[in-house]
């Protein structure tokens, strides 16, 4: 996450999307699973 500023993540289960406006050290999860970076 540290270098993921501005990246968009998608939940492959429900389709939710989030934009990272402040990077951190963790992993984004949704519906119990890691979210995938949108290409």
């Amino acid at each position: 996450m540290a270098n993921q500023l501005g990246k968009i993540y998608v939940c492959s289960a429900c389709g939710a999307q989030v934009i990272v406006t402040k990077g951190g050290g963790g992993t984004l999860k949704c519906c119990g699973q890691p979210m995938e970076q949108k290409k």
Binding site: N3, L5, G6, I8, I19, V20, T21
Partner: protein, 523 residues
């Protein structure tokens, strides 16, 4: 992330919040987002899409802001051009960018009509005023006639979103390709996303074709701060707007700061709302910033922001604490010295000083400032010039400087402006700072002139304060008594005012030309 999200995200959270004020017109986030998306749809109907170049040739307005976000929405490239550019510069910028559309104010109609035959890629001209421009539609007509709204298109974060031309103080303007990634990194790293808490009001008066103007708009809107936009800077209006709109944040160039302090209205206006006053774009004379600190409310936090177009704005800042002239005598003296610095690098910027061999120099040694940050430009358009980025990822800024023992960076002039007299390097900034210590000097610029005997000679262009009477010999002696003797100006020429660009940056090529003519005439 598409930079159009800087508008659409806060607009989705706070649609009814007042967002933009321009010459009496007021817009909420929702109203602006609707206008932007309708304008994007209308431009798409004209056949404009991802990668196409849309230029803006106008003074600041709400339509200018909308035009940028509509362009970003389409994934197209926005090309904001300097409305003060001379005709050859304008031709160069519009042709090199291969613009397909120009959005322009009516005052530029004749200029544009003259240039159009030389711009084969130009297909559309859109007026940014209420009246049409050369038979083309206006922005408002496009918005009104749009069949719907267009949402942000998919982009690659390394797509260029703004092709911004450098000020061209030394040569023809170069097109700096700045990507969605560059601005995302800058904006997200500089401000917090709007969260409904009061974020104040920002007054933007610098031209939007300049990196300081473009980033000021982006950070202001993303943070949920109300944007009060001025068409062009005017001291009396600036003071009025601060009072009437309760402005909390503003950015000025040094010449604007001086004009404000000298304005007849200054003492009459209520400036108590001001919390943060940033300045940059050109070197700030020490006497001007000292006067500003003394004359503005003590609650104002001053910030000197130094950066380049090539680095998507700010690299270093000298913060509010450095401007508070309090503490022991030694602390105040240290702060006064540092007021002539550009502060320290931002957290996402690595900075060092290197010599001609590329090796890092020790504290206090003058060399070229090189920086490494993830928001360095993609390059110059059309490979107009080498990017200046070395194999290690360091951008060679061509600004000379040095770092003190506490990490504060001081500028010593442009690398191309360094004077070499008889093998001795002379930093123009050092001589200029010395001249500005003279009570009769309003502003000064120092350049090197060709000389058969010494290679170069030190020449100074000086503007005196009103009523001051100082001779060239007195100024030369003033410098000789404070600097190594070879650094003193051997030629001093007086000007009523020094030539500058819109950002207050001194035009050294004009000064060189004037001083060269002077020398040729034996002056």
């Amino acid at each position: 992330m598409n930079t159009a999200n800087f508008l659409s995200i806060p607009a989705s959270i706070f649609p009814d919040q007042e967002m933009l004020v321009f010459e009496g017109a007021r817009f909420t986030y929702a109203q602006t987002l609707t206008r932007v998306r309708r304008l994007a749809a209308a431009l798409a109907n004209l056949g404009i899409g991802r990668g196409d170049a849309i230029a803006a040739l106008d003074t600041n307005s709400h339509r200018y802001v909308e035009a940028y976000y509509a362009t970003a929405t389409l994934g197209a490239v926005f090309v904001p051009v300097n409305y003060r550019a001379k005709l050859p510069e304008l031709r160069h910028m519009l042709a090199a960018a291969r613009v397909c559309t120009v959005l322009a104010g009516s005052r530029y109609a004749a200029t544009l009509a003259g240039l159009a035959p030389e711009l084969p890629s130009l297909r559309h001209v859109v007026g940014t005023d209420a009246t049409p421009l050369g038979g083309g539609p206006t922005v408002d007509e496009l918005i009104a006639g749009a069949g719907g709204e267009c949402e942000e298109s998919a982009i690659d974060e390394d797509d260029t979103t703004i092709l911004m031309y450098t000020s061209g103080t030394t040569a023809l303007p170069k097109g700096v390709m700045l990507t969605h990634h560059d601005f995302t990194t800058y904006v997200c790293g500089t401000v917090e996303l709007a969260d409904g808490s009061p974020r104040g009001t920002a007054l933007v008066c610098v031209p939007l074709y300049h990196i300081a103007g473009a980033t000021a708009v982006m950070t202001t809107l993303f943070a949920g701060r109300k944007l009060v936009l001025m068409r062009q800077f005017d001291a009396a209006n600036w003071l009025r707007l601060v009072e009437e709109e309760r402005v909390t944040h503003a950015f000025l160039v040094p010449t604007m700061v001086k004009q404000l302090l000298d304005a007849p209205d200054f003492a009459r206006r209520d400036l108590s709302s001001l919390e943060s006053l940033s300045y940059g774009g050109a070197a700030m004379p020490l006497p001007v910033v000292r006067r500003a600190i003394e004359m503005l409310p003590p609650t104002v936090g001053f910030v000197n922001a130094f950066g380049q177009t090539e680095t998507t704005s700010t690299l270093t800042i000298l913060g509010p604490e450095d401007h508070r002239l309090t503490g022991s005598t030694a602390e105040i003296e240290a702060k006064l010295r540092r007021l002539t610095s550009i502060g320290r690098p931002l957290p996402d910027v690595e900075l060092k000083i290197v010599g001609d061999d590329g090796g890092a120099l020790a504290t206090g040694a003058v060399g070229e400032i090189v920086v490494r940050t993830s928001r360095v430009m993609k390059g110059y358009a059309g490979d107009a010039a080498p990017s200046g980025v070395d194999a290690g990822g360091w951008l060679h800024t061509r600004d000379m400087g040095w770092i003190d023992e506490a990490g504060y960076v001081f500028l010593a002039g442009r690398k191309d402006d360094m004077i070499i007299r008889g093998g001795e390097n002379i930093a123009p900034a050092e001589v200029e700072a010395t001249l500005q210590l003279h009570p009769g000097v309003e502003e000064a610029a120092v350049v090197g002139l060709p000389d058969v005997e010494w290679g170069q000679r030190v020449a100074a262009a000086v503007a005196l304060r009103p009523g001051a009477r100082v001779t060239a010999d007195e100024l030369s002696e003033f410098c000789r008594s404070r600097l190594a003797s070879f650094k003193k100006p051997e030629i001093v020429r007086f000007f009523s005012a020094l030539p500058k660009n819109a950002m207050g940056k001194i035009l050294r090529r004009d000064i060189r030309a004037a001083l060269g003519d002077d020398r040729a005439q034996g002056g």
